[in-house]
Amino acid sequence: MTDADAPALAVEDLVMELHLRRGVLRPVDGVSFEVGAGETLGIVGESGSGKSMTCLSILRLLPKPAGRIARGSVRVGGVDLTQLSERELARDWRGRRLSMVTQDPMTSLNPVFTIGDQVGSPLRHHRITRTLRETRARAAAALGRVRIPSPERRLDEYPHQFSGGMRQRAVSAMAIACEPQVMIADEPTSNLDVTIQVKMIELYREIQKETGVAIVLITHDMGVAASICDRVAVMYAGRIVEQGPSRAIFRRPAHPYTQALLDSIPRLGARRKRLFALGGQPPDLLDLPRGCRFAARCPKRMARCDEAYPPEFKLPDGHVSACWLSESEAVHAA
């Protein structure tokens, strides 16, 4: 059924539309990326840049009835999920081969069901376990894998008996219970305090080492992206503006937006007194400019930026930037 040579997840030219009364929005407008097994891709950008909508589009958990996938493909192990029915998607894919950890651990668990029931539910629904005893054993194993101490005892507890960090672990256990090939983590740490964030990130790394899962990590925190991701994609107004190995992007950011994001990170021992802040607002998705979407806020704006949206230019260090400034350095237009 799946192709062994294909990347774990390949998204190509994905367009998601929201049909609202005010008009048609494209929160995800032609996004392409690939993630291999055992690899972590970070998607960074401001809130509203389309990061979360990209995730929801991959699993096709779109807002109803406004959302729809208008174009593009989402391949997991070579199979295009956009061609599958809702039923097939639920039965064979969601929670089985790809899963998602959402933003808020406090609200992602059902308050009136036990942790054991919830962590066991993907195992039951995907027929991985057949009996109650088997489900409990596998659910406890999943809780153990996310380093929850004495997991058997905690199966019968309810979410309110868990702390914030423990809840996020339980949600992660639910996501990895069936050992998926792809895990999408949507700001998994943004509602936790800093020390717990670090532990969660270490945990994801360990799980990845053990299972070889491909991880897509959505974050607005460049520090988190730098510490865990093999590659990074920067999103702005529904499009990826820069993408490549994280080392290359953090060392030599090519797109002015990426540069602005990196300049906004506070650094210990930095000479600069005031933290850089990018002025202006992202464009209204209902009223997009013809040219580059970042032009209005860009410190290096040129005349041609307003005329046409820049194509993706491939740079010598292997990363790709959608900015006219990169044209002169480009190896060839990607």
């Binding site: 639920a90 969601r94 899963s99 059902n110 993907p122 629904h125 309810y158 309110h160 008996q161």
Partner: protein, 306 residues
């Protein structure tokens, strides 16, 4: 928890005392029972003698204190009409009313929960619209009229169900529907809006993202959350059923507390009216207490004292 329970019991007791004062005063506003108990040609001295014997010549507050003192010892006086202790009469009729109210409440929920859930899942669809009309009709029609309509259709024309009386399970069907239809509209709305909230929650999306089938998401994972506001209201609906039973029992000649109190009221049979209403009030208090205790079964956050 125990302190809470004791406080609730005290509150309940105070409600019953309040109800007893109101009912005691109001029954005495209906007129003099002695006139109805004796033949019209009875001489005035006989009438006065009976009035003194029943204690009806005393000032109202003294009558109440005597009644309250006796009631606390379990003596609710003798029925003027049936010539037996009022308490025995009420306890004899109470089970039939509890049965009717419980079946009516079960009927209303059996209709409201599926309608509410399906309306929320297919918002604006035909179930949502039909459910609204159906439920509104129930709320717009008085229960005695629904009762008469049911008798006309199912007893007289179709001859499927007995028109009145009690004894077999078939007898309870029509009175329970007549009584239980009224709260369906409100219950459907509660379930529908609670379901809409829950279906939009992160944990349902999380469930969907791990492949939980839509059917279990809706009927298992969402419904138990959405049931909490309905359970909160169950005590109120049970009270509505008790109130409604006073009328519906008369329509269907159901041998319950409601019909007995209505008959006693016409006969100015004060002890029976007082005992009947007090027991209805007590049932209301107990029902609300049980509802409070039952939250914990559905919502673990309350069970663990949070």
């Amino acid at each position: 928890m125990l302190g809470y329970f004791a406080r609730r019991l005290l509150q309940g007791f105070m409600s019953i005392v309040g109800a007893s004062i109101v009912i005691f005063t109001i029954t005495r506003l209906t007129g003099d029972p002695v006139v109805l108990m004796l033949p019209p040609e009875a001489p005035p001295d006989v009438i006065d003698a009976l009035r003194i014997k029943l204690g009806l010549d005393l000032p109202l507050w003294r009558q109440y204190l005597i009644f309250a003192g006796d009631a606390l010892q379990g003596d609710f006086g003798r029925s003027y009409r049936w010539e037996m202790p009022a308490l025995d009469l009420v306890l004899d009729r109470l089970p039939a009313t509890i049965l009717l109210s419980a079946v009516a409440l079960a009927f209303s929920m059996a209709v409201a929960i599926p309608f509410g859930v399906l309306s929320a899942v297919n918002r604006g669809g035909w179930v949502d619209r039909f459910g609204k009309v159906f439920a509104m009709a129930g709320q717009a029609m008085p229960n005695f009229w629904v009762g008469l309509l049911l008798i006309l259709i199912f007893a007289i024309h179709l001859d499927w169900l007995p028109a009145y009386g009690a004894g077999t399970p078939a007898h309870v069907v029509m009175p329970a529907i007549a009584l239980g239809w009224y709260p369906v509209a409100a219950q459907t709305r509660i379930v529908r809006s609670a379901m809409l909230d829950v279906l939009d929650s992160d944990y349902i999306r999380m469930g969907r993202s791990v492949g939980t089938p839509e059917f279990s998401l809706v009927w298992k994972y969402a419904l138990r959350n959405a049931a909490i506001p309905l359970i909160t209201m169950l005590g109120v609906y049970f009270a509505a059923m008790l109130g409604g039973s006073f009328v519906v029992e008369v329509v269907f000649a159901w041998p319950g507390l409601g019909r007995t109190v209505v008959e006693a009221l016409f006969a100015r049979d004060f002890p029976v009216v007082q005992a009947g209403v007090l027991f209805a009030a007590a049932m209301f208090v107990v029902a609300n207490l049980l509802v409070d205790l039952s939250y914990g079964i559905v919502d673990p956050r309350i069970r663990h004292g949070r």
